[in-house]
């Protein structure tokens, strides 16, 4: 099992954001986490990524982790190629291959600022691809993109996941995206709270 999650509570101040959450994700599975804004989807993903450790419970991750963020989150002062090499440790040749995989052939020498937003998103996906992850976390990676770009990115993400078969957790608020990518879906709902 690549990812095992058992969260009893996650609090911000006196408010329980997450409570009694237990699930597992195996390699090749794609779990979509749905729910309205502010329900704790991103908090859950930060916990899974190990970025938030202040919670009551346990998360077990096996293997390499990669993440695609809401924003491209690239190093603007490093070339596209270096953005892959320095974060994932792949060599230049493997980085070139990852760029080609997402349709950025020949763009390796450009800085992120010289790429369009769509290309930056692809680069961010290429980074996750180059990492050859056992666990892949996607944090609303298609939010604020126009519809054609969403379609492009969905197709690309789908094929990358099919190829590498990581245990994937995909946070989104768009049911259509979840239906397209996920093998399982989980709905987070707001709890009755003070």
């Amino acid at each position: 099992m690549s990812l095992q999650v058992a969260i009893r509570t996650k609090r911000f101040g006196a408010t329980d954001v997450l409570r009694d959450l237990a699930f597992q994700v195996a390699r090749g599975e794609v779990l979509a986490v749905l729910g309205p804004s502010g329900v704790g989807k991103s908090t859950l993903l930060r916990i899974l990524a190990g970025l938030d450790t202040a919670f009551d419970g346990q998360v077990r991750r096996e293997g390499r982790l990669a993440m695609v963020f809401q924003e491209p989150t690239l190093m603007p002062w490093r070339s596209a190629l270096d953005n892959l090499r320095l974060t994932t440790g792949v060599n230049a040749q493997q980085a070139e291959a990852a760029l080609s995989r997402v349709g950025l052939t020949g763009k390796g020498a450009l800085y992120p600022g010289q790429l369009s937003l769509g290309q930056q998103r692809r680069l961010s996906l290429a980074r996750a691809y180059a990492a050859k992850p056992d666990i892949l976390l996607l944090d609303e990676p298609f939010v604020s993109l126009d519809q054609t770009l969403v379609e492009d990115m969905l197709a690309l993400t789908e094929s990358v996941i099919a190829e590498q078969r990581p245990a994937t957790v995909f946070v989104t608020h768009a049911r259509a995206e979840a239906d397209r990518l996920a093998t399982r879906q989980m709905m987070l709902t707001a709890q009755a709270s003070a």
């Binding site: 990669a66 989150t73 002062w77 490093r78 974060t87």
Partner: protein
């Protein structure tokens, strides 16, 4: 109505610009012309005053500068001052960098250290220098320590601003992808701090050499400050100007040949 008029005007100016506007002069040329203007301004003032004992013109100072350079004395004193500037600069920059980053990243530490920072920022340079000479003695260590203590708070304050503006999502990304500490320092932290480092270095250098001169004026037997003190006592304005001008020239050279190219390198990605 006024909108239309404005946009008409803008489009005309744009058209003329594209066709006939002269290209702006290169930076280097502007610099030379501007400094020549300063030279002329000085010469005019000296000519108006008409008393070389009080304000000697360039035609008196520059030959004396040549004589002093030929004798080798100029280089000895310039070298001594430059060496002190370098030592104080490295000390102040490295300590201030570490302190500033820590205070920027750790709000609790900042709460406790901020009043200290305000205290040291407002401590007059002269007081620090005098106390260092009294406590440590009239020696080289006291000189360097005094200058560094004057400068560290400013570096700290500026680097703290830089550390506060650090990009959180990038740090998250580095952690998720398991980048090493060294890699994070080199590829995530330092590139973000580079513009702050560059401006701190430039303002730092100009402040440090002024304080070094005061230190030398008060208690050293070598260096530009010492020579200025000596000639001040003999009311030799020409020699005071010889030493002041030559050190300004050295600082201008460091700025142009070292600091500016470094800054350009750090900003390369923005212009790409």
């Amino acid at each position: 109505m006024s909108d239309v008029a404005l946009s008409d005007k803008v489009s005309i100016v744009g058209g003329r610009d594209a066709v006939t506007a002269p290209r702006p002069l290169p930076d280097g040329m502007v610099r030379v012309l501007s400094l020549s203007g300063l030279l002329i301004f000085w010469w005019a003032l000296a000519w108006l005053k008409a008393d070389p004992m009080v304000l000697p013109g360039p035609q008196i100072v520059l030959p004396r500068l040549g004589v002093e350079a030929m004798s080798g004395a100029l280089w000895t004193h310039l070298g001594a001052t430059l060496w002190r500037v370098a030592q104080a600069f490295v000390t102040a920059m490295s300590l201030g960098l570490v302190l500033g980053i820590l205070m920027g990243l750790m709000p609790r530490l900042n709460r406790w250290l901020d009043p200290w920072l305000v205290f040291f920022l407002n401590l007059p340079a002269l007081v620090v220098i005098v106390l260092c000479f009294l406590w440590i003695g009239l020696n080289e260590t006291a000189a360097i320590v005094a200058v560094a203590i004057n400068k560290i708070p400013l570096v700290t304050a500026m680097m703290r601003e830089g550390a506060r503006a650090l990009n959180g999502p990038l740090a998250d990304m580095a952690q998720v992808f398991g980048m090493s500490r060294m890699a994070r320092l080199r590829h995530i932290l330092l590139p973000q701090l580079a513009p702050h480092l560059a401006s701190t270095a430039r303002s730092g250098l100009s402040l440090i050499w002024k304080i070094v001169l005061v230190v030398e004026f008060l208690g050293r037997g070598q260096g530009v400050g010492f020579k200025i003190h000596l000639h001040f006592q003999m009311f030799d304005v020409t020699m005071v100007m010889v030493y002041a001008l030559s050190f300004i020239a050295v600082m201008l050279a460091i700025e142009t040949l070292i600091l500016q190219p470094l800054e350009r390198r750090a900003r390369r990605w923005r212009e790409a």
